[in-house]
Symmetry: C2
Subunit: 302 residues, 2 copies
Amino acid sequence: MSFDRLQKKIDDMQNPSVVGLDPALEHVPPHILQKHVAEKGETLEAAGAAVCEFNFGLIDALCDIVPAIKPQSAYYELLGPCGVLALKQTCDYAKSKGMYVICDGKRNDIGSTAEAYAVAYFGTVKVGNSELRPFDVDALTINAYLGSDGVKPFVDMAEKYDKAVFALVRTSNPSARELQDKFIGDERLYTIVGDLLEEISRETVGEYGYSRVGAVVGATYPEEAEFLRARLSNTFFLVPGYGAQGGAAADAAKAFDKNGRGAIVNSSRGIIAAWKKSGEDYAVAARNEALRMRDEFRKEIY
Amino acid sequence: MSFDRLQKKIDDMQNPSVVGLDPALEHVPPHILQKHVAEKGETLEAAGAAVCEFNFGLIDALCDIVPAIKPQSAYYELLGPCGVLALKQTCDYAKSKGMYVICDGKRNDIGSTAEAYAVAYFGTVKVGNSELRPFDVDALTINAYLGSDGVKPFVDMAEKYDKAVFALVRTSNPSARELQDKFIGDERLYTIVGDLLEEISRETVGEYGYSRVGAVVGATYPEEAEFLRARLSNTFFLVPGYGAQGGAAADAAKAFDKNGRGAIVNSSRGIIAAWKKSGEDYAVAARNEALRMRDEFRKEIY
């Protein structure tokens, strides 16, 4: 099962972290962008090719120590269709290097449209007699505001193609409290969303006890993470907010179960833009920072 | 202001409808797909080119009677990067024909990531000394579950580039009640979301009294539409659920203000797949159905 594969990679590497590949152009070393601009002009095609080269270098530097990448779709859409091509090429390359790929798209819709998103990221499209794969990632982030009609099509396709989703439950931003923390009867909205996800995914639990429907639970609010970890026993957590957003490893550690499993912590800028602080080659700087983060979590969790 | 331009187009055409360009491959006439497969093989590139030809034909047939299109991003992502290219080409072509373009992506994130989405769809990206436009649509749908941190970056970019957003408030699907209808104190969640949007966008009201932050309010629940219309006086409504999803024109009419303004109603399959029922050429069938829908709304609203 998809999250079993992820957990095995985490166990093998003793590293429950995922690198957020969020390649805003200011994080791409200037010499890489300049090289592609020299070839392709000042175009989005050049920018997309530069992002690809940057990501491939990061993947080469990280794939033996980090189990997963999480490309944030926004930074690829930001470069138009050429950027989306870079997203696909990045996902394919990371998979070829054995990494688990979580596309952070926070997609959401209902019925046949939700199904179209799920097929886009998980499945195959038939053109004539050929079955073609539009993206083929391991997991996709989704937003559950539309209710179960907006989640089930993703879960069905995840079942069909052995993939997984992470739905937003309690996010890491200050204004998450405006809606997610509000009480509905005796429970907060995020708890109701979490319960709904457990109910929808109950039949999909794998060998580590986690279903195909994970949850995004921010590290910046450790009490919430602790509460949700206790309540949502079948839900694998994706934890943003560590590092640049202010969450500490001890806070993020609250998202793990008593065996040190069931969660993965994201760091984006802290790793991919480490070269800007250290002055080293970007791949060397990213690897050093990823090792530092790994060792920090090893101390907290194992 | 962006919604003023939309309202003027609606007034000029006496037609408050938007055509959802949701080109699932089964809605594309087979001869179009076959032509591109003959040229490019059984590839996603061929499928993307077929979708483009289909859409361009629809736009040609509709641009003098329908003010706006709403391409649903899922059906383009479904064809991978080639599909996203077809999305961009469709948006650009519709704009060249004078149509208002609403990209239905239901995007959502926080901080610099939300800003990246907003720039992707509204703004310009700098590569070297060149300012390039990744997509450049008039409006984008968003999901507000993350709270104001997840909405404000879109509003700021909408201000900067004279664009607009529609945020999900009360959707048209049955399970919308699982979360959106729940009471928080005396108000339902969707009311709290709607109030939040009005508060965020107060400073952006244009000449018709509507702000840059619209709301998605389903036609399948007319009582909710009537209640929200009365409460959210500065919020332009995008109304899905008419036609194929079961909403009637009289229901959708509840979303309009007393001057017959402040809302636009979507129809997707009903128009773009009309050829499958009528046996006519797809463009003729779409135009006939768009005229029928227009006349139905003229009776209800004006």
